[in-house]
């Protein structure tokens, strides 16, 4: 059995974002990068399936991006993926989801993956498109937004999360693709021995030009801060003063404090 996990490296969302020189994405200076939160659940689920099947499956992790994404790849190898593919693309931020998906599909096409795991969305783009579009490119069934996953003998039973805590249960045969939602499992922390072991694992580099054959279908015209709605009061300064102001505001504006 062969498993593919697709991961994206994204900036820490607590960062302060500024547009880049072209004004279409964020400037990378001063940003710290990490693995997309949703993809951590994808990696964890793939590694759990490998363990469930007595370590027989081989888990490949793939990431498209500049050299820095190797850090996220290394984390997934330390979490238990077996080998990695780094699709080298310093301009990945200018590609639309259609192109990203076609690059992944071009890589996966002849590899015979039984299962592909992706995150349900990336935190920086939040398009929730790449996973489903990869499945469409490959012509395999796909279930999105998983909060439950079970595999038995070529059949996947998946719990999709719907609105308001309701779930939808679906079943499909492999080869298949699933997109992982927050809370699907509890992603493990890489242990030191596993980080050491991961150093020996292969990271194959493929230039993006070898896999990209399609033009983009949409362009980003600008990247900017939201228009400030204003209205809200911002209280900075000393804690004691902040407490005093908050209490007087609550007394003035709500019926909660008497």
């Amino acid at each position: 059995m062969k498993i593919l996990v697709c991961i994206k490296q994204v900036p820490d969302m607590e960062s302060r974002f500024k547009p880049d020189a072209a004004g279409v994405w964020f400037a990378e200076t001063d940003l710290a990068f990490r693995m997309n939160e949703y993809d951590e659940y994808a990696v964890e689920q793939a590694v759990r399936l490998k363990e469930q099947l007595g370590d027989a499956p081989e888990v490949t992790v793939l990431s498209i991006g500049p050299d820095r994404v190797v850090e996220a790849i290394k984390k997934s190898l330390a979490m238990g993926c077996d080998r990695a593919v780094h699709v080298q693309d310093p301009a990945v931020h200018l590609k639309d989801p259609w192109q990203i998906a076609s690059i992944i599909a071009a890589y996966a096409k002849d590899q015979g993956f039984d299962l592909i795991f992706t995150g349900m969305q990336s935190q920086d783009r939040g398009s929730a498109q790449v996973g489903v579009t990869v499945a469409e490119h490959l012509g395999i069934p796909c279930a999105t937004t998983l909060v439950g996953f079970a595999y038995d003998n070529g059949t996947v039973t998946a719990k999709r999360e719907l609105e308001g805590g309701v779930k939808g249960v679906v079943r499909m045969k492999t080869p298949a693709l699933v997109t992982c939602q927050l809370g699907l499992n509890t992603p493990r922390y890489p242990t030191l021995p596993n980080i050491m072991k991961a150093k020996k694992k292969e990271i194959a580099a493929i230039p993006v030009a070898d896999l990209l054959t399609v033009e983009s279908l949409a362009v980003t015209a600008s990247f900017h801060s939201p228009a400030k709605k204003g209205g809200g009061i911002v209280i900075e300064g000393e804690i004691a003063d902040q407490v005093t102001r908050v209490i007087s505001l609550l007394k003035e504006k709500t019926a909660v404090l008497r």
Binding site: P11, M13, E14, R16, V24, D96, P97, W98, Q121, Q123, G126, S127, Q129, V132, E136, H137, I140, P141, T144, T145, T157, K159, R160, E161, L162, E163, G164, G165, V166, K167, G168, V169, V170, R171, K173, G183, T186, L217, A218, V219, T220, A221, S222, F223, H224, S225, P226, G232, V234, I235, E236, I239, A240, Q242, V243, T244, I247, L250, V256, L257
Partner: protein, 302 residues
């Protein structure tokens, strides 16, 4: 401009978000036709054209079949824009339709601007303006971002025949878990977000909730990490609340959280990040380390 709007049913009931789709088309000044996999017995109150496929045959969730049905309607209607709600149904189906049409897809649109679509980026902290480069475009709109139209009228129905088979089998719905806490009734809710750092600190937030005579709420990561149970979760996949006072402690303000609490009468947020999107809905944003501010506030109240 012509739009095909993809509405939704859940458990035999037409979802209200269908009227937001019509509101969106209205805002575009576009012609609208509606598409539904649903039933004759729960038709939308809307006076235009409706492509209807029977859920009794196609199922309420069946992406392969629904994709084919949408494509059938696209062929008949030849719309410029195919519009879904960015929901568990919409974000699942839209990319399938877009791929089949080789059409640009724009996800979770919050506004129409300068010949393009504005969407959120970086967990709602930033915005992007996206312009489709294809003649047809598929878009999903953010739930709650566009004013719904007032329901009224009855549609001219054109029935769609169900034919395709499917590689995905829908086994059924699983209801939401029973709730021990009914947040909807609370007058004050004090919620813990990931910013509390660790499970031990839930007690700090709970103490403020007690001091204010309210209930403890939480954002999703706090629930996923099992620091509190799911019945405390506020948001699209938790509870929708509108208390007199909502206090958000260490919560960034992702759209799925805001959707559950932004109608609260008064919102107090405590965050160390002055730019956190929670500031967009907060009446008062206290920029502070919550581990210092919250205990100090609680002490003054008790």
């Amino acid at each position: 401009m012509k739009t095909l709007l993809i509405g939704e049913y859940r458990d035999g009931k037409l979802l209200d978000s269908t009227y937001e789709l019509l509101g969106f088309a209205g805002q575009l000044g576009a012609e609208a036709a509606l598409f539904l996999v649903g039933s004759d017995s729960a038709l939308p109150a809307y006076g235009g054209k409706l492509y209807l496929a029977p859920a009794s045959e196609a199922g309420e969730f069946n992406p392969d079949l629904h994709k084919q049905l949408v494509l059938d309607a696209v062929k008949k209607e030849n719309p410029d824009c195919i519009v879904f709600i960015h929901s568990s149904y919409g974000w699942d189906l839209a990319p399938r339709v877009a791929a089949a049409l080789k059409a640009a897809q724009v996800s979770e649109v919050v506004a129409v601007k300068d010949g393009g679509y504005e969407v959120g980026a970086c967990n709602g902290k930033m915005r992007r303006l996206i312009k489709p480069a294809t003649a047809q475009a598929v878009i999903t709109i953010q739930a709650g971002a566009f004013q719904p139209v007032q329901p009224g009228g009855s549609p001219q129905v054109e029935k769609l025949a169900v034919s395709a088979s499917s590689a995905i089998e829908f086994l059924g719905y699983e209801p939401a878990e029973d709730k021990a806490v009914d947040l909807a009734k609370a007058e004050v809710i004090v919620s813990a977000g990931r910013g509390i750092g660790k499970k031990d600190n839930v007690s700090v937030i709970a103490a403020l909730a007690k001091a204010l005579g309210g209930e403890l709420g939480a954002s999703r990561p706090v629930v996923d990490a099992e620091w509190v149970t799911h019945d405390h979760q506020v948001g699209t996949t938790g509870q929708t609340v509108s208390p007199k006072l909502y206090v958000a402690c260490g919560i960034s303000g992702a759209i799925q959280h805001l959707a559950g609490m932004k109608k609260s009468d008064f919102i107090l947020a405590i965050n160390k990040d002055k730019d956190a999107p929670i500031g967009e809905v907060a009446d008062v944003l206290v920029v502070a380390d919550l581990m210092q501010f919250v205990p100090a506030l609680t002490a003054k109240l008790t």
